[in-house]
Symmetry: C2
Subunit: 337 residues, 2 copies
DNA sequence: TCGTAGCATGTTAGCGCTAACTTAGACGAC
DNA sequence: GTCGTCTAAGTTAGCGCTAACATGCTACGA
């Protein structure tokens, strides 16, 4: 069974080679591309591997080949399905390529992001997926020196570092504003995310505000909330909005809070959409509540999947035809607006 | 700035050593434990590092020290917050320990699990967190040979491989059944998860069924559904349950489906809890719907956090006092039951 | 004065693998 | 027969770091 040697006591490639009566290099070749060794050798190596119970040491391989076969992804949190989506997409895209996914969560903290990028660079990841559209000068310097492919996801940065996959969050906000205007709303409200590093939420609100202004509507009521605490305070948030207006339509970019506001509005005796129109980003329950919620759907899984594909292209030495991909969004209009 | 050498063109520890006028070993010592070099040397090394822009190659370090400083975690999917929780918890527990988290999603596929474990073993992870309570003989063999600490999370296995953090899913089901019985329900229903490898959902249903049987209640109606597709078919699922009973109480262990069933029941004109009692696992919306849902809360974040702590203990050469930790659960009784 | 203990630092020898080069042999064109 | 070409395999020399051992120095009690 397991044939030990000195050192760390691991079964090494040389143990396989000895067992099969070939050189270590042939075993190495067999493992990375079986077609490059003869059929008889191939068979003997295959047998030898299971005979000695060999599991290649990918760390040693990484050092020798200068390829870690690991891709890193940084995101604010995994607790929100919209952020977990890209990780799933990335893992799916890399599944058949012998790449593994290293995950770092920043908790919306820019300092944590820089620390994690340094840790990932230290591990010599072959590619990096970031959830920030603006990078500090320090970070750009680190990444430039590192020279690995980088994909920024979620937003389409005005100054992309390398590649990007995302959506124009500003366009999302503008589309919602356009929809509200078309329905005849004038005084609107926007509920955003209070995390300063969540530039995506800020961009959606900005697009919303600008479009209303351009149409001559009054400036919308604005409120920024902290998630997930705000979920339990939906009644108070709704009351604050109404106290300043009340608005006839609310755009909520803070994830699940939209559904919570829906319940709060019903508890307050408001009829949707006549007393209040409500729209937000997609969530699992948006279609289930009564009346069902109009939403903007952004396919975040695709962010990760496409990022993975672009990284693979680059790591294979090819240059993807597009460096910046807009996944777009979908307005799903239901009874709440 | 960057001082290149031959080879891969990276800045190496030796470049720092030359710049600081010390040996490479001193730089290595400084990096891992600054207290082990003299203060003057320390200062010169620190300057030299930023002067040459050095980022240690952790891959080379791993090979030499036989410690990867990476921990792997395997889970069925990240799309469900209950499964993303442990990853966050693990990352949080490891944050200050210079360990990174390698994530693998199996999609409830046992084959994928074995593949991923092999890939993680190949990367020589220092520890492993698994979301399975039963391991195949093949897997046990691989892990035994690998000899790294392993924590199984979610369920408390009858035959733990090494360490475990979880909850007795059977006790969860039993507690819900007990609650239903105490409220006078006789004919109940259990909606579970159709994925064969989701033994956690199966255990909850089993505990539920056994407790009802022990109390002499009729065998509950049982239904297994596929998630997340079932979310959109809540009306049909409710209709099927009612056609076979109707039951007076439903225990739904399939995540978010409980909330969807709640809406379906209201659409069907049923009053909760008089016409139908409904209870499930916790979700963000359970408290928000009307009437609010009774739930069982399981702190999955703690699974990951405690698993991380136990791994750190073991990796530091200590033996955690308990090898198996029951995080327990909480029954939150609201108006739906 | 010596011995030895303790600390800071240097030297040596790999960790397990693969890139790059080398060799051996088969085959066919001329 | 000679040469070049091709394929399959072996040989050599690291990848960048750290464990383990070696060295040199200072301090201090007997």
């Amino acid at each position: 069974m397991s044939r030990r040697s000195r050192g760390t006591g691991q079964v090494r490639i040389e143990d396989v080679a000895r067992e099969a009566g070939v050189s270590a290099q042939s075993v190495s070749r067999y493992l990375r591309d079986p077609g490059r060794v003869g059929p008889a050798t191939s068979a003997r190596i295959c047998e030898a591997i299971s005979a000695v119970g060999y599991v290649p040491n990918l760390i040693a391989g990484s050092l020798a080949s200068n390829r870690s076969h690991v891709v890193g992804i940084l995101l604010p949190t995994l607790a929100i399905p919209a952020h977990a989506g890209p990780v799933e997409g990335l893992a799916a895209a890399l599944r058949d390529s012998a790449y593994e996914v290293l995950v770092g969560t920043t908790g919306y903290d820019a300092g944590a992001e820089e620390r994690l990028v340094r840790a990932f660079v230290g591990r010599r990841v072959d590619g990096l997926v970031l959830t920030s559209d603006v990078l500090s000068a320090e970070l750009r310097r680190t990444l430039t020196a590192f020279a690995a492919p980088v994909v920024q996801i979620w937003e389409l940065p005005s100054e992309p570092f390398d590649m990007a996959v995302g959506v124009s969050n500003k366009a999302v906000g503008a589309a919602v504003a356009g929809h509200f205007l078309a329905r005849g709303h004038r005084l609107c409200a926007a509920v955003g995310h209070a995390q300063a590093t969540d530039t995506r939420s800020a961009a959606r609100v900005a697009g919303f505000v600008e479009t209303l202004a351009a149409a001559g509507a009054p400036a919308p009521i604005r409120l920024d909330v902290r998630m997930p605490e705000a979920l339990a305070q939906a009644d108070a948030i709704l009351a604050r909005l109404c106290a300043e207006g009340p608005p006839s339509a609310v755009f909520c970019t803070a994830g699940q809070l939209t559904v919570a506001l829906h319940f709060a509005a019903r508890r307050a005796g408001l009829n949707l959409p006549d007393d209040l129109a409500l729209m937000g980003l997609d969530s699992e329950f948006a279609a289930l509540v009564d009346p069902p919620l109009s939403v903007v759907r952004v396919r975040t899984y695709e962010f990760g999947r496409l990022a993975g594909e672009m990284l693979i292209e680059r790591l294979a030495g090819r240059r993807p035809e597009t460096q910046m991909r807009d996944v777009g969004f979908e307005m799903i209009l239901r009874a709440s607006t």
